[in-house]
């Protein structure tokens, strides 16, 4: 009796896995074909709507499409929880998660699990106006699985009262650190606490130096190159000689912003959100004395920022994919993109929006951000992303703290990413 039930459960579990595998390969079996052209009410799933931009948009859509109303399902503010919530609902084949907002780094994983509807055929969207890096982040195995919705790139904040011309290369940045010493403040910081932000910063260092973390296939590590070593070595050296202050090993975005606003940092690598806060925060001591620039590069243009942002994807379990597609196009429209930028300070994915004069007046960082995103590189587009980012974080963290050599850290990172792609 017990044994029978156990094996039944086991059987169901296996059947579930097999089914998930099959349906994903064909990208839609007989049962889901009808859903491709079906219109009807759908649900849009996204993390916390911080700046109240999604609700007004959905109201606008609903007014125009009374028969294809969109319901908003708001998730938590924490990225990990949004990820887990999506996984749970995909595994349960929830038909009510029609359009989902996925972080750029989850797109490959969800696509490879067969949960995202490829945007091809009747569901194809126009990508010519979009920034290439954002499209790359939504592409897996040559197919587009999601529509870039919002973007984000790192920019360099600097103290304009101390630095007249912002550095354009890493070496210039390091020589400018003399200014910090004279002023009695710390020189440069990014995000080096052990969390996703560390992967972002390490990827930027490696990509800027001309290296890569994984090859185009998303699973072969490419860290055994002189370029990769050069990139990580820069961070390690700067931390060791104090140009990156020792406290920076605890920094996430907010701690770095706090230090910069308190006037304790000459340079800060952070996202655009810092701009308006540093201008308006009551405790900010740098309101009128900071400027922004693209990340320092390697002598051939700006540094390679890691790409942030989100993509909108259609669940394979959606019953009304045609409506879902229309809604995604609505999210992509330059009108919506402008609304995202003005109301929510969310970076647009359409290049032309960045040069809109009224927008630039409101968000003066847009031209710099555009440069950053144009030279941005997506973090590894890998279906094994969780394991890849762990491999990067663990080893880079140890190297920056000086516990292991750069060579050892990169060898281990290389081996750990290989192991991840081999299934553990």
């Amino acid at each position: 009796m017990k044994a029978a039930r156990l094996s039944a459960i086991a059987g169901m579990a296996i059947a579930g896995l097999v089914l998930a595998g099959c349906s994903s390969g064909s990208g839609g079996s007989g049962g889901t074909d009808a859903s491709l052209t079906s219109h009807g009410p759908i649900t849009y799933v996204q993390g916390k709507d911080n700046s109240n931009v999604v609700r007004p948009l959905i109201d606008k859509w609903n007014a125009a499409h009374p028969k294809e109303k969109v319901t908003f399902k708001e998730q938590s503010d924490q990225a990990d929880q949004q990820h887990d919530d999506l996984v749970q609902n995909f595994q349960a084949k929830n038909k009510n998660y029609d359009v989902v907002d996925v972080d750029v780094v989850w797109t490959a994983e969800f696509a490879a699990k067969g949960w995202l509807q490829p945007l091809e055929g009747a569901l194809a969207i126009k990508t010519t106006d979009l920034l290439p890096a954002t499209v790359a982040s939504a592409t897996y195995g040559g197919k587009l699985y999601a529509a870039p919705q919002t973007s984000d790139g790192g920019i360099l904040y600097y103290r304009s009262d101390l630095i007249k011309t912002p550095p354009t290369t890493w070496d210039e940045l390091m020589s400018d650190c003399a200014v910090a010493k004279t002023a009695g403040i710390d020189c440069y910081a990014g995000q080096y606490a052990k969390y996703e932000g560390l992967t972002v910063n390490v990827a930027e260092a490696i990509n800027t130096a001309g290296g890569t973390i994984v090859a185009k296939d998303g699973k072969t590590p490419t860290l055994n190159t002189p370029e990769a070593k050069k990139g990580l070595q820069r961070l390690v050296d700067a931390y060791k000689n104090g140009d990156i202050p020792s406290a920076a090993i605890t920094y996430q975005e907010e701690q770095g912003r706090q230090a910069f606003e308190a006037g304790k940092l000459l340079f800060l690598r952070n996202w655009p959100y810092v701009y308006s806060l540093a201008k308006t925060d009551g405790s900010s001591t740098v309101k009128d004395t900071f400027g922004i620039a693209p990340l320092p590069g390697n002598g051939n243009g700006p540094g390679a920022s890691s790409l942030g942002g989100h993509n909108a994807a259609i669940s394979v379990y959606s019953q009304h994919k045609a409506t879902a597609h229309d809604f995604i196009e609505f999210l992509e429209s330059s009108e919506t993109q402008k609304f995202f930028a003005t109301q929510g300070s969310l970076a647009p994915v359409i290049e032309s929006v960045y040069t809109d004069p009224t927008l630039v007046e409101k968000l003066p960082y847009l031209p710099v951000l555009l440069k950053s995103i144009k030279s941005a590189v997506p973090r590894p587009v890998s279906p094994f992303y969780p394991a890849v980012t762990t491999a990067v974080q663990d080893n880079a963290y140890a190297a920056i703290k000086g516990d292991v050599t750069v060579d050892k850290a990169l060898t281990d990172m290389q081996a750990a990413i290989s192991a991840a792609s081999a299934g553990n």
Binding site: K48, N50, Q78, Q81, L346
Partner: protein, 306 residues
């Protein structure tokens, strides 16, 4: 504690002679001045240790968000904005509803867990039956599995039976999380009960059930209330399961607070989180003050034995 023993024990021994029938009064009078001072100092240290971080939370809750990292030890840049933010449904923060949800879930969990926990504990403490060790082991075993690994199967189970996002989907797991502790605590307390009183009641013509309700339960009141507080707070704090199984309408405060967001991506709204933390803590302190009377009442009732 051992350093001053000589003096105080002599004093206590001398004063101990003045013992009378009204016990509570006696205890006060019996205490020497030295001990009273020591108790007072200890109490002050305890209160400071427990409340200092809470104080910091309140200070931060009233601080303007632009001065989040101000380290002044007294209130500065005082504002009520954080509380407005916490309750602002326009920003998508449903703290008011969430408070009610948590209260409702907590009361249900506590009541049901105590009810069925008392049955089980009574059987374990008083009845002689086979497989008792196995039962105890199973109940204990239930609190050994990493909670994080329970989520996925439960999510699938509850989705399949259409319970996703309902109150029962939040209450049921919570009950089972507090049950092992409830059963063990109550069993341990029940074993210390003067069961001869129950025998006496039975001889007086009560059934086993009546004897339990009329004699034992009142005696066990302090233990039961302690267990109730444990169960309630445990359910009040439950986050992991609720974050995955609740819907907008049923989400408890822990989930509501976790989904608090700043006005900008990446910005962490510490001040609003601290405001919400303050709001969440206050009702419990009030509850404790109410329960506290019941515990004292239970204590005096317990004194009858002996």
């Amino acid at each position: 504690m051992s350093s001053v023993t000589a003096g105080s024990s002599t004093a206590a021994a001398t004063l101990g002679l003045s013992r009378t029938a009204v016990r509570a009064k006696v205890r006060v009078r019996r205490k020497g001045t030295a001990q009273r001072v020591r108790t007072a100092i200890s109490a002050i240290v305890i209160v400071i240790w427990c409340l200092l971080p809470f104080y910091w939370m309140i200070i931060t809750a009233f601080r303007d968000v632009g001065y989040t990292y101000d380290t002044a030890f007294w209130p500065t840049h005082v504002t009520l904005d954080n509380f407005t933010t916490a309750f602002s449904t326009a920003l998508g923060n449903h703290l008011g509803q969430a408070l009610l949800n948590s209260l409702f879930i907590g009361v249900c969990v506590t009541a049901i867990a105590l009810l069925i926990g008392t049955f089980a504990a009574y059987a374990l403490a008083r009845l002689d039956f086979r497989f008792k060790g196995v039962v105890l082991g199973l109940i204990l075993g239930a609190s050994m599995f990493p909670g994080v690994a329970l989520i996925t199967p439960l999510f699938q189970l509850f989705t399949n039976i259409g319970w996703f996002g309902t109150y029962q989907a939040l209450i049921l797991p919570s009950i089972s999380f507090v049950l092992p502790l409830t059963v063990y605590t109550l069993t341990s307390f029940f074993r210390e009960m003067p069961w001869d009183l129950e025998e006496a009641a039975r001889i007086d013509g009560c059934t086993q059930g009546q004897a339990f309700r009329k004699v034992i339960l009142p005696l066990a009141a302090p233990a039961v209330f302690t267990t109730a507080i444990l169960a309630f707070i445990s359910s009040w704090n439950e986050y992991l399961i609720s974050s995955q199984l609740s819907s907008d309408a049923t989400q408890p405060v822990t989930v509501a607070i976790a989904s608090f967001a700043g006005s900008q991506p990446h910005q962490e709204p510490y001040t609003a989180v601290m405001a919400a933390g303050t709001i969440v803590t206050v009702p419990l302190v009030i509850l404790v003050l109410i329960f506290q009377r019941r515990i004292v009442a239970g204590l005096t009732a317990g004194g009858v034995k002996g």
